[in-house]
Structures are given as C-alpha cells and as structure tokens.
Symmetry: C2
Subunit: 330 residues, 2 copies
C-alpha cells in the first residue's frame, strides 16, 4: 500500500509546495521526496513508488484530475464504440515522469531497502475509464460488460498491453518488484471475475520481463475482495498474493502451500485503536500466518488520512519484534 500520504505532516508540506496530487506525482524530485518520507520516520523493509494507478489511462488521453477532497475524475470516458475504437497503448514517453521518479528514488535509496513499482489491473483501470471516476455500484462498467462484452474485452486488452509496457519500463528504470492492484476485482461475480479481471491480469503478467540485469523481479497481485479466488490467483505466474483483512491467513497459507508468498492483511482502521489494540491485532495477524517463511506483513488497504502517525510506529515496532520471535521458532 502507498506509504506516503496525508496522515504525515511532512507529506502535506510537500504537497502544498507541489500544488496538487498530480503535481507531486509528475515531478520526480517531489515524488522521490515523499516516497522517502515514511522511510525516514519508520524502519520499513521496502519502499513503494509514490504515484497513482490512473497514470496509464491518463497517458491514453483521458485527462486525469483530482479535485480537492474528492476522488479521481477523468475528463473523457470510454463508454461507446467510438471511444473504445480510439483506445491505443500510449507512447510510454508520456509516462517518462514515472520512470524518472523510479530512477531518482533508487538513487536516493542507495540500497537501503528495495523499491516496489506498481500499476492498477486492467479491470480496475477499466472501471475508472468507463465510470469516469469512482463508483458505488459499478453500474456503467457492468452494463457495458453485460451488454457489449466485445467492447469490454477490447478495453481490457489494450489496457493490459499498456500496463505490461508500463511495468516493464518501471523495471528498466529500477523497480525491484512489481505489484498489480486489482482494487475492484472483488466487485465482480464469480465467473465474470475470471473472464474480465483475472484473464487480463494474466495477460499483463505474460507480457512482463522475468528479470532485470540478471536479478529476478518478483510479481505481487492484490485483488481486494478476492479471497474466494485465492487458489486461482495463486495459480498465475506470480511470486506473492496480496490479501485483504477478511482472509484468514492460516487458511490461506494452507490453501496455497509454498507456491506463493502471502502479503497482508491488517485492517488499517486498527490504527485508530489503542496502542494495546494495535499490538494485539498486529500480533494476531502474524500469529495466524504462524512461524513459517513467506509472509509479507502489510495493511489490507490504503492508510487513512486521519491515521495518527504514532500508531504506525506502534505497528511497525510490533511487526518487527513479534515476527522475530515467530521466526526464531520456525
């Protein structure tokens, strides 16, 4: 999950200088600054690129903006035959600001921790491209899917190829692992998920380089609400599967065995609890996975802007102390 954000006063200060979220994301020096802020505050084990999943549809010409206090909006939507026909894999030069940020962050990290690059899944990006922004019911994108599946498949195919090229360019620029966020896969029905989300996540994965400069590049896929499809997701060419907090980690580990690592899954709202509750819930997540290798502790969703920064300190300290104890027993 994104580590930088409005819960950190230093982030708010940099964002004020940048003027907007996209001002931050499009200036490699500012993106570097905010990517490193959480690492300066907490002893985290990895860094994640500061960017947004919607940079790819923006580069396709849809015109991304973030109004103050609201979610993302696209100036153009993709809902009819003409708009779908006009879609193409964008020139990656339009996303050079992302690749420059990756290179700049790698340089600034100087080997301290690895850097994770990321993208949205084709289905998740298509939700925004059709709806024009967030949605409560996904009515427009599902209407298109059930009334014109041919158009939906073309949107997803073009988006998958774009996303593959995008992640490969992040890897070439220095990303040491890549993560695909299928934030809205969980709104699909069983059956539709496999055809409209997982199949195109697979298409992305099949288009990715396996290594860079002789070093393996791990792939992580996180489908929010995808716990029921864990076996099918883990059967893809991935190294780790992200889980949300509804998933029991003990069951999940037993279901996938050692095929993949599991990443997750504390409910970020635990961070509004007392320090005792934060410690107890964090230890419960670690204990549920148990004394086995292959667990990457993470939040099961983005961190709220209202989170007290000191709650994150309690969390990170607990993860380190308790997982050391567990691994000593492994």
């Amino acid at each position: 999950m994104r580590q930088a954000g409005r819960y950190l006063p230093e982030y708010c200060a940099t964002r004020a200088r940048a003027g907007s979220f996209m001002g931050l994301a499009t200036h490699p020096d500012l993106a570097t600054e905010v990517t490193l802020q959480p690492l300066d505050r907490y002893p985290l084990d990895a860094a994640i690129l500061f960017s947004d999943i919607l940079t790819v549809p923006d580069a396709m010409g849809l015109g991304l903006s973030f109004a103050a206090g609201e979610g993302p909006k696209f100036a153009k939507v993709v809902r009819d035959e003409a708009a779908v026909a006009a879609l193409e894999v964008p020139d990656m030069a339009k996303l050079q600001y992302v690749f420059d940020a990756v290179t700049s962050i790698r340089k600034a990290l100087n080997g301290r921790v690895p850097l994770i690059g990321f993208t949205g899944s084709p289905w998740t990006l298509a939700c925004y491209m059709v709806e024009g922004g967030g949605s409560d019911d996904y009515r427009l994108v599902k209407s298109l899917m059930y009334s014109r599946p041919d158009l939906m498949h073309r949107i997803l195919a073009v988006t998958a190829d774009s996303v593959s090229a995008y992640l490969n360019a992040q890897i070439a620029a220095g990303a040491q692992a890549v993560m695909i966020f299928d934030s809205w896969g969980g709104v699909l029905a069983d059956g539709a998920f496999q055809r409209f989300s997982l199949a195109y996540t697979r298409r992305v994965l099949d288009g990715l380089v396996r290594e860079h400069e002789g070093v393996n590049i791990p792939r992580i896929v996180f489908t929010k609400g995808g716990g029921l499809w864990l076996d099918e997701i883990a059967a893809q060419p991935v190294d780790a599967v992200g889980l949300d907090w509804t998933v029991n980690l003990d069951r999940a580990r037993r279901a996938v065995g050692h095929k993949v690592a599991l990443q997750g899954n504390l409910d970020p709202n635990v961070l509004f609890g007392t320090p005792e509750a934060i410690r107890a819930e964090t230890m419960a997540v670690l204990d549920s996975y148990g004394p086995h290798p292959g667990h990457v502790f993470n939040l099961g969703h983005g961190i709220s802007q209202y989170t007290p920064p000191e709650a994150v300190s309690v969390l990170v300290e607990t993860v380190h102390a308790h997982s050391r104890k567990l691994l000593a027993r492994a």
Copy 2:
C-alpha cells in the same frame, strides 16, 4: 432483496402519494400496496415486507430520515459513553406500523405466496448508528470497536435484543420466514467478524421463536461479503444462508452440504445486459448449484432503480423454466 422499488413506475406513483420513503413504510396500507406490486407484475415465489432495516434504531430514538437522492441519515449518533449508556431496547409499540403492515400484507396475499419479514443484523445497524449514515471506510465505527470495545459490545447487545423482539413481533403478526441482512459484515476483518458481527447475529437467532401457530419459521442470514465465512455462518441455527455473487455456488453447496439451503446470487447489474446475457448469466447461476434441492434463486444485492422492468421479466421466466429442467434431472 426488496422487490418493490423505484425501477417500477407503479411504485414511484405510490411513493409520490406517500410523500417520502418513510411515509410509505409507516402506512400499512401503502406498504401493503407496494409490497404486492412486484407480485402483480412478475410470477414471484415469495413476497418480502416493504420496510427498511433502520426502523429499529429509529425506534430507539435516533431519528431516521431519507433526504431525496441520498442515503439514510440519523439525527443522533451513538459514539460516546453517554449515548451508549442511553440505549435501550425500544418499546415495540413504536414499531406497530411494521407489524400492522405484516398483518395487512398477509391478508392481501391471501395465501398466494409466503411473506418474508426481515431486519438488519446488529453489526450492520450499529454501523449506521455510529456513523450516522452510510460510510465508505467505516472509520468511526471501527475506531470505536478498536478503541472502546466495551462500548461497541453494549451497542451490539442492546441492538441484538431489540432485533430479536422485533422479528418475534413480525412473526406474531404473520411473517412466515425471517431474514437477517448483515449488509456490512463483510467490511470486518477475519476475527473481528466473528466477535462483533456473527456473535450478535447468533444472539438474535437464539432469541427467536422457532414456530408460530405450530408452523416452523425458517431463518435466513445474508452476510454481504461473507463468502469466506460460509462454514461459520452455516453452523448457526439457520435454515438458509444468503450469498453474494462473488461466491461460487457449486463450491458453496459442497462446503455446507445439506445443512442449510443457499439463497442467491445473481449480480443485479446483469439486468442491464441484453436479454441473451440475462438468460445466460441466470442459467449459469442455476447450473452452478446444479440439479439439487435447497437452492433459492435471488439477486445478490438490492435491485438498481435504473433497472428496466422488462429485464426482471426475462430473469423470472428464465429462473422458472430452467430450474424446472434442472429439477426434472434431480
């Protein structure tokens, strides 16, 4: 799921006469009229009381209203020690309009189809009582849960006892089956779901009468997003478990065997598809359960106000025709 609604022009006409949603719900003759409208239009196999899950907290004195085009709002919220201490099981006389509607609907149905009564689960009602309305992130209710679990448990206990009394009064008035909607159970983390949602749904179930006038009253529990906990839900004293559309019915049936019936689970957005797509997706749901008894076909969520009424005709015809074929093979 509620069968009556804004997708039906006859509903909109009655609602206009009533002046508001609560005007409909609180007048037994109008509630009867709209409950029967879908049955006059479609050959449905059961009727469901026209009401709202939030009538119970309203009777607790929280002041429910529905602003035009917006979701429900409470005038008072329950977030601090004093507000929690003030909560009590409401006098059921305040909900007499619901029980009168049940009696009136039963009389109007005259044995045509059975009538299902319903309530929200304690956790789902508590979400609204703490948040004051709908929520994207459930931050306030989860903050209370993780910082003052003692207060949360008291809200849930009082609400569970209220809901038991409420359903028993619906049964006494003539409801022939009861359904508990745990619409927001799926936002909880594994572990928290069992402690804060399922335990109180159980408390409701334990407080319910088993039969009325010598006839068994089936209980249905529907947890949206609860597919991962199906075995734990099915282990409660319930006759049927409702499923959302993310759940594979074949897997679900094999998991619970004949312990409970399964109710579900078409994505209501399928109703925006072509007639061919509606038929294909509906048959896919029926086929996934297979030629076995114990399946109650249903939508996996409320029907959208934008649904074309003729799409529901295609759905109902397909369910009847295709399930007859399947059962002939059983």
